[in-house]
């Protein structure tokens, strides 16, 4: 279980009142607030012959995730450009095909131009645009959730326009 470590700085807070305490360490999981468990990706094995899985058989999350295409956006925009329509359509096919057993989490991301709430909202609007497109292509809306990571989840850290364009994207993650 991944744990948050909360170290109390009550002593610092009480400097001017002349009181001090040793910093405490608590485990938030003890308070009943369960955190998401981080697990290793499932190892897959390719099997030839009669045991090969058909396209309708459930496959592992990591394999299914790899079949989605991220959707990329223009600077400061959250509308899906025509050149990204195929990525969305392909992802809808995957969602209703090999990934049909899973729920889908859309992760909206932005480039490094700002870390404020607006940037997070921009990432979310991008995710929402993809969600609407998936729904229009027949994906059940109840399977789709969204989150925005703003600029905090870059795939590229160079200071170039090409790099920034790779970070303005929506990724597809699958949930059991």
């Amino acid at each position: 279980m991944k744990k948050l470590v909360i170290a109390s700085v009550s002593a610092a807070l009480l400097i001017f009142s002349g009181c001090s305490k040793e910093p405490k360490v608590i485990d938030p999981s003890e308070n009943g607030d369960s955190m998401v468990e981080e697990v290793e990706s499932v190892t897959t094995e390719i099997i030839n012959g009669d045991n090969t899985m058909t396209s309708n058989s459930p496959i592992s999350i990591s394999v299914a995730e790899g079949k989605f295409n991220s959707v990329y956006f223009a600077f400061d925009k959250f509308t899906i450009n025509s050149d990204m329509k195929d990525n969305v359509s392909n992802s809808a096919t995957v969602a209703n095909g090999v990934a049909s057993a899973y729920n889908i989490k859309l992760e909206g991301n932005c480039d490094e131009w700002g870390s404020d709430e607006y940037n997070f909202a921009l990432g979310l609007k991008r995710a929402n645009a993809v969600k609407k497109s998936l729904i229009s292509e027949g994906v059940d809306s109840s399977r789709i959730s969204m989150v925005s990571f703003g600029e905090s989840n870059p795939t590229c850290n160079d200071k170039t326009k090409e790099c920034w364009s790779k970070n303005r994207r929506v990724d597809f993650k699958l949930l059991p």
Binding site: I6, V9, L124, W164
Partner: protein, 416 residues
């Protein structure tokens, strides 16, 4: 601890009631002050570090020309150090470590060989010594009759991104000299003090299935889940009485502002717009300002909580995506250029609701997350420039900016 001071604007003083108006005055009218160390405890490295923090504090109160030279003398020496004899003021202090390990500081402010101010501080844990330095500067500022710098003694809470989807929440002093990681591991952002006493805070966790708002009571050492929302879940502001929160949530994928009652744990939707409404800030009990793209680009608007009427507040800037308010003053972040490689991309500007003047507060880099001190005397902000992340202080009435760089990581958001 290396503290870098960067004086961005020309050193000047501001006259007049309206803080958006600049009037320049020469710096050499400021009285000189020298600092003398008489410490008998601690290592030379520790003593020099403390001296630098004290120099920084005296610079920030903006009342003196502070001599940067480190000089030592006996605490009870009747004369100031020879090199300081022409100084208007001399601050002499000594650090003493008690047998119990407690940190003691004794100081006296000398003018014309007369002691005009003296005080003694004691804390049990020496790691908090920078707060004593801030308290000394606060005392001297108060003694000199200058406007309050209460904010100096406040703590800053910020989130630091250390890797993709990995962050820390850190409590520090305003110079980042003292830092304590208080939430470690996971992806936790947007910390916000819950009370004026700064003994509890809210933060957003993105580690769960849905973005979640947590409340941490530092004294009790507890961490509890308050709310969760699909898409976004951010505490944007806390009312002065700590009873109400302005949240940005998106339960249906649509980012809007909500008003949350801490006592009843109920919330209501404040804005309804199909675009983006985020970052609500209390202007007073019944009015907020917020960021919206309802004109096609992010800009600052105000809204009363009891009506649907929305008013545009800012008329300058192509993309104004963050703000803070204090009384009639609004500080906001504006994009200066769409050239991604410009040295000057986002700057902070100050406006008054009563005048048409706009005062530009920063000049280079990406400047964001402006936040007024409670008394409106200073603005804290984040500056990112040439891969360096810093926390900056703007002394509005003294027209001075100071930067305190972060050693590693990138500041994502902060509150004080």
């Amino acid at each position: 601890m290396k503290i870098l001071f960067s004086l961005i604007m020309s050193i000047s003083l501001l006259f007049g009631v309206d803080a958006t108006i600049d009037v320049i005055k020469k710096v050499d009218t400021l009285p000189s002050i020298a600092i003398e160390d008489s410490s008998t405890s601690y290592t030379n490295r520790f003593k020099l570090k403390f001296f630098k923090v004290l120099v920084a504090d005296l610079n920030v109160i903006s009342l003196f020309n502070v001599d940067q030279n480190y000089r030592t003398t006996e605490y009870d020496n009747g004369d100031v150090v020879f090199e300081n004899k022409d100084m208007k003021y001399v601050l002499r202090y000594q650090l003493i470590e008690s047998d119990s390990g407690a940190f003691n500081l004794e100081y006296k402010l000398i003018k014309n060989n007369e002691i005009i101010l003296a005080k003694h501080y004691k804390i049990k844990n020496s790691s908090y010594n920078v707060f004593i330095s801030h308290a000394v500067a606060y005392d001297i500022n108060k003694f000199m009759g200058a406007s309050s710098v209460e904010w100096m003694k406040k703590k800053v809470i910020f989130s630091r991104v250390v890797a993709p989807k990995k962050s820390e929440i850190v409590i520090s002093d305003y110079t980042l000299s003292y830092q304590k990681v208080i939430v470690k591991g996971g992806f936790n952002l947007f910390p916000k003090w819950a009370t004026k006493k700064q003994n509890s805070f809210y933060y957003t966790s993105l580690d769960r299935d849905k973005p979640s708002l947590f409340y941490v009571d530092i004294k009790k050492g507890t961490n509890s889940l308050l709310l969760e929302s699909d898409g976004m879940m951010i505490c944007s502001d806390v009312s002065k009485d700590s009873k109400k929160l302005l949240l940005t949530m998106a339960p249906k994928g649509q980012p809007d502002i909500y008003l949350y009652n801490v006592d009843t744990k109920r919330y209501k939707k404040v804005t309804s717009y199909r675009g983006i409404d985020v970052a609500g800030k209390f202007m007073n009990n019944n009015e907020i300002i917020f960021v919206s793209n309802r004109l096609g680009y992010p800009n600052i608007f105000s809204k009363r909580l009891d009506t649907n009427e929305v008013e545009q507040m800012v008329y300058y800037g192509k993309s104004n995506s963050a703000c803070s308010v204090n009384g009639d003053y609004i500080v906001y972040k504006a994009r200066e250029t769409s050239n991604l490689f410009s040295k000057n991309t986002f700057n902070l500007h100050l406006i008054s609701r009563k005048t048409d003047f706009i005062r530009r507060l920063t000049a280079t880099g990406i400047n964001e997350f402006p936040k007024f001190s409670r008394d409106g005397d200073a603005i804290l902000f984040i500056k990112n420039y040439k891969s360096q992340s810093s926390i900056g202080i703007i002394r509005l009435n003294h027209n001075k900016n100071y930067l305190f760089p972060l050693k590693y990581g990138k500041v994502q958001s902060m509150d004080w």
